[in-house]
């Protein structure tokens, strides 16, 4: 066991670091900037990366990549994480949507869309979840009805990250309600600026608006925008979702080091909080979990570096990190005692980082697979336990019972 790069990996790391040092934009304080202003910076950085082929690196050269190995991709991400560059706008599009387009669209469509997406000129979103179809996304209700060469779409999507700044999206709809739910779905790509598409931001419990509702009212699209066969939408969606685990990165937010710093400067009923036994035990638990996750990523890297597919160990990350963020944030505000209620960034310790993560953590436990769904996935796909009893398998979608 060792943590060293192979000679080839070390050489690549130096190449990446040298390039980043020469090209990464200078750190800017984005706290006071509007989202469109930050997006502008992000697009410029994406264009720079694309020109040097440091984005979509594992894709073939013809599609804008460099045919890199997965481990080279990890090395780039590790090195880039040391720089304060704008992040997060392109992950879903380039990680999930455009690969789906690449897998199922005709050559003409690929020619039109792949390159501008790689350069960051056009951004893509994923339109799957609906108010009545969350964990059970195949229960979605948005309807597409054939009309000559066109399809007419009516319905509503929800939790669409970035829909308000996206140019295009991949859309999963019901084309046949007379067959069981998985069999009546079809995938399309759409223009988010087309008439009949309305984006409304969701006001989250955290106060922010990172997600949207997207309404479709008689949206008319051509059959040439179909991805995969009519009725094959579920299979296409699985390709998209397979990429999700790779695209959704680790969580951000305060960790054991930050709460340790808070404890050091906080006085409790029996002296310094860091001297409190109960706190010290929790601190050790958080450290062990955080280190365990970091080291588990090293195991994934080892598999990649040996040319293997990473094992199921990569599936445990979000369950641990999201729950720890919630637990740690709550411990931090309780540590602050009465003061913990304050969210004013000018007054609260660490610019209210713990209060913010406390309000963000519930979303993290739900997004990209709830704790419960992730545990089902581990139980069924990793441990090989049987799936749940299904009452919806052979029932036509239109005959399925519905709640609100």
């Amino acid at each position: 066991m060792d943590f060293n790069d192979s000679p080839e990996e070390a050489a690549f790391r130096i190449e990446v670091r040298t390039w980043l040092e020469a090209n990464a934009p200078k750190k800017v304080d984005t706290k006071k900037m509007s989202e469109p202003e930050i997006l502008k910076l992000a697009k410029a950085w994406q264009a720079t990366k694309a020109a040097a082929r440091f984005t979509c690196m594992t894709w073939p050269e013809a599609l804008g990549g460099r045919g890199a190995t997965p481990i080279q991709n990890v090395i780039y991400n590790q090195e880039e994480s040391k720089f304060d560059v704008p992040r997060g706008f392109f992950d879903i599009g380039l990680g999930m949507c455009v690969p789906t387009v690449m897998a199922f669209a005709n050559d003409e469509t690929k020619q039109r869309f792949v390159a501008p997406a790689v350069r960051g000129e056009e951004i893509w979103c994923q339109l799957f979840s609906e108010p009545s179809a969350g964990s059970d996304v195949a229960g979605l209700r948005t309807r597409a009805v054939k009309d000559g060469d066109d399809w007419v779409i009516n319905g509503q999507k929800v939790w669409t990250s970035g829909a308000h700044y996206c140019d295009f999206g991949i859309l999963l709809v019901r084309t046949n309600p007379d067959v069981p739910k998985h069999k009546g779905l079809t995938m399309f790509w759409i223009d988010m600026k087309a008439p009949g598409v309305e984006v409304r931001p969701i006001h989250q419990m955290s106060g922010g608006s990172n997600f949207n509702e997207v309404y479709f009212t008689d949206l008319r699209i051509n059959d040439s925008q179909r991805l995969g066969a009519v009725g094959d939408g579920w299979k296409v969606a699985l390709v998209t979702l397979m990429n999700e685990r790779l695209a959704v990165g680790g969580s951000t937010g305060p960790n054991y080091a930050e709460i340790m710093a808070l404890a050091r400067s906080t006085v409790t009923e029996d002296g310094n909080a860091l001297a409190n036994d109960a706190f010290r035990e929790k601190l050790a638990d958080w450290y062990v979990q955080a280190e365990g996750l970091k080291l588990t990523r090293f195991r994934t890297m080892t598999a990649l570096s040996r040319g293997q597919t990473p094992g199921p160990e990569s599936s445990i990350g979000k369950i641990i990190s999201a729950n720890q963020l919630q637990d740690l944030s709550n411990s931090a505000i309780e540590l602050e005692d009465q003061f913990g209620i304050i969210t004013d960034t000018a007054i609260a310790p660490m610019e209210a980082a713990f209060q913010q993560s406390l309000m963000w953590a519930p979303g993290l436990r739900i997004a990209g697979g709830t704790d419960e769904i992730l545990k089902n996935i581990i139980a069924e796909r990793v441990l090989g336990l049987p799936g749940d009893v299904r009452v919806d398998k052979d029932v036509a979608f239109k005959d399925m019972p519905t709640g609100r």
Binding site: E281, A284, R299, A303, A379, L385
Partner: protein, 371 residues
């Protein structure tokens, strides 16, 4: 990046599993469990010696195989999985590690070949009563090379030939080698939570004691030995946790209630998923401990603490929820669940309880922060 066993290490681990599948079945473990006269499985102990495992990490010049600590970790993982009823940890993780850490050339030359050859069982004696032994309450005392005091509990103390004992000498804490067959040693086997491992009370009244390591370094050396043992014990714990998850899965798949296998109920699936998550976190932390131990990294104290905390938590959770998954059958003597429930407690306590290790971990974090 190479954060996994190598192919050779995997081969060794696989061979160890095959050997233990034949020589350390549940029946072998139960023979020791059910017979109060039996402290360990002597045939298995001989077999393990013949495999060369006792000297796996002992240098060739002292009669060992001279392999790395990672190889020893691979063996430990399999011993834990099999719930092996032998004094392997006491002899290899504690005594041999203590000798290699602090022994003089003469001490190493005298004892290490005997360990490697399977001619000697070891023990490590620090505790003197409930709670943690420290400089203020340490009673054992050496005067003129003669040890007086009581050590309780001492794992494998009733069958060991040679013990490392923590005691004061001239007001300075030190470690001492004591041959237990000599004069001035009285031993009494104790009843414990895990009868598949043997524990004794040892009373010393003027037993011959030879210092191991420097005078005054008793507690520092004990901590250093515990750091090494903790990593190796973590692999035994990991092997046990994995086995508990397997047992729970196998039972759930075959147990039918309300017209279907209970493995299909989310209450069971989520319980087993929780076991899996804890086992993987423990595995990653244990691997880091193995790396730190193998290369003698400065990170060893914090790596060992993290490995011990994660593995203790994983094994406790897996062993208790394995009983729960088995329902009423899990509570019977006849089903093996309790063997692991018992062993999880033995392994969690033998080098100091998890609470102590959490404190050590935080002290390391504070030190790192101050540096």
């Amino acid at each position: 990046m190479n954060f996994d066993y190598s192919d050779d290490q995997k081969f060794l681990k696989n061979e160890a599993r095959k050997f233990l599948d034949g020589n350390c079945t549940s029946a072998h473990v139960r023979k020791v469990l059910d017979n109060v006269e039996l402290s360990y499985d002597a045939d298995l102990w001989k077999g393990v010696g013949a495999q060369g495992w006792l000297g796996a990490a002992i240098p060739e010049e002292h009669g060992g195989l001279g392999l790395g600590r990672v190889e020893l970790c691979a063996i430990a993982e399999e011993l834990g999985r099999a719930c092996a009823p032998i004094p392997f940890a006491s002899t290899v993780y504690f005594l041999a590690e203590a000798l290699m850490l602090a022994g003089s050339d003469a001490q190493k030359a005298k004892w290490l070949p005997k360990i490697a050859a399977g001619e000697l069982i070891g023990a490590f004696a620090t505790s003197e009563g409930p709670g943690v032994v420290n400089a203020a309450n340490l009673q054992a005392n050496v005067v003129g090379g003669k040890l007086t005091g009581v050590k309780i509990p001492v794992t494998d103390g009733d069958i060991a030939d040679l013990a490392v004992v923590l005691a004061n000498e001239g007001g300075k804490p030190g470690l001492f080698l004591v041959e237990l067959a000599g004069a001035g040693v009285t031993r009494e086997t104790l009843k414990t939570l895990d009868p598949t491992r043997s524990v004794a009370k040892i009373s010393f009244s003027g037993a011959a004691a030879e210092r191991l390591g420097d005078a005054g370094e008793g507690f520092a050396l004990t901590e250093a030995v515990f750091d090494r043992a903790a990593v190796l014990l973590a692999f035994e714990q990991l092997g046990g946790s994995d086995r508990c998850l397997e047992m729970a899965k196998d039972y759930a798949m075959d147990r039918y209630a309300f017209g279907r296998t209970i493995a299909g109920y989310q209450a069971i699936k989520h319980k087993l998923a929780d076991m899996y998550v804890k086992n993987e976190l423990a595995r990653s932390n244990a691997y880091f401990g193995a790396w730190a131990l193998n290369v003698g990294a400065a990170e060893l104290p914090i790596a060992a603490a993290a490995a011990r905390v994660a593995s203790s938590e994983a094994f406790w959770f897996a062993s208790k929820e394995n009983v729960q998954t088995h329902g009423g059958m899990g509570f019977t003597w006849a089903v093996d669940c309790h063997l692991y429930y018992r062993r999880s407690r033995q392994l969690a306590l033998v080098a100091g309880a998890p609470k102590v290790w959490k404190e050590r971990l935080v002290q390391q974090l504070e030190r790192r922060n101050a540096a």
